[in-house]
Amino acid sequence: GAEELALLEKLLGLPKGNKYGVQGERQVPVLQTNNGPGLTGLMTIAAHLVKQAKKDQLLGSTAEEKAVIQQWLEYRVTQVDGCSGKEDTRIILQDLNTHLEDKVYLAGNIFTLADILMYYGLHHVMVDLTVQEKEKYLNLSRWFNHIQHYPGVRQHLSSVIFIKNRLYTNAH
């Protein structure tokens, strides 16, 4: 929610000062702006911040890229944030793992807002995974490890350890 947006601000190099509130039962973040009604919703605010920081490339350059990024942002907010329970989590991790099999970043070859928000959204899940689980979702682990090393992303969040345990190598 709001803490995440603060992290994002810092990553983007924006000065502090934005005021965030929350709305409703599900604690949807709201950004108070000076002119006009506040902006509501994680995705919306995040995209706004990116543009504020003039880092539009994080939102994709081609129409296709933009669409893919939006898709993953939506996934983050609807599936990841809305998930409750082990089964749901497992499905998400499996989904992402499959998707990341042939991609370095969520949107393909570029680092985008999708990676950032998915990282923040999944952090609490990844922290609790066992070694076997991390090995099982190999692509996801690879991607996560990569993103957490990206300069400015991790900040104060704990670093999740990924070790490649040779005992459980996949047989392809």
Binding site: K103, N109, L138, R142, K164, N170
Partner: protein, 224 residues
């Protein structure tokens, strides 16, 4: 290090395995390391090696920027998992028919290096050896110094004897040995370097203390 032959299925498998949990060959950003390996791979890896394929497609997207990527391109053998043997050796050129040329240029180069190393080590050894001092011939001498009478101040006598300084002469312990009639002789040990100090010289100098010393004898003479 190295992946083995990246044009062979075995090499690609090593690469695939290596890239399973890595986005790039080195570190977390694309670099010359990736370019070096990419160029060695040349064609897209097969679909079953999907980590390698993922990486390949990704690096391909950087094709235009490849000159500006960070890092320095190193020999292929420098990348990859540390437990794989570096089979590239001196040859980064295309593989010939005689890969298995055991007595070929690889060895020559190696022995030259080994030779140089050996020579260096020899030189070091020599210099160390020459610095080491030659073994010096030494002797341990026990001297008997006799005073005039029992009233001679033995402490003073010893002092005089010990005052004799010479290069290669080291005084040792001493004791007073009674000889009769209350007279004590001074028995004193010394270590001398044969080349530098002789018993004649010692005798001369000790008996020079005429007030205290009546005579001097060599009680024992042992080569060390």
């Amino acid at each position: 290090m190295g992946f083995g032959d990246l044009k062979s299925p075995a090499g690609l498998r090593v690469l695939n395995d290596y890239l399973a949990d890595r986005s790039y060959i080195e570190g977390y950003v694309p670099s010359q390391a990736d370019i070096a390996v990419f160029e060695a791979v040349a064609t897209p890896p097969p679909a079953d090696l999907f980590h390698a394929l993922r990486w390949y497609n990704h690096i391909k997207s950087y094709e235009k920027q490849k000159a500006s990527l960070p890092g320095v391109k190193k020999a292929l053998g420098k990348y990859g998992p540390p437990d794989v043997e570096d089979t590239t050796g001196a040859a980064t050129e295309s593989k010939d028919d005689d890969d298995i040329d055991l007595f070929g240029s690889d060895d020559e180069e190696e022995s030259e290096e080994a030779k140089k190393l050996r020579e260096e080590r020899l030189a070091q050894y020599e210099s160390k050896k020459s610095k080491k001092p030659a073994v010096v011939a030494k002797s341990s001498i026990l001297l008997d110094v006799k005073p005039w009478d029992d009233e001679t101040d033995m402490a003073k006598l010893e002092e005089c004897v010990r005052s004799i300084q010479a290069d290669g002469l080291v005084w040792g312990s001493s004791k007073l040995v009674p000889v009769g009639y209350g007279i004590k002789k001074l028995q004193i040990q010394c270590v001398v370097e044969d080349d530098k100090v002789g018993t004649d010289m010692l005798e001369e100098r000790i008996t020079a203390f005429e007030d205290y010393v009546q005579s001097m004898d060599v009680a024992a003479f042992n080569k060390i």
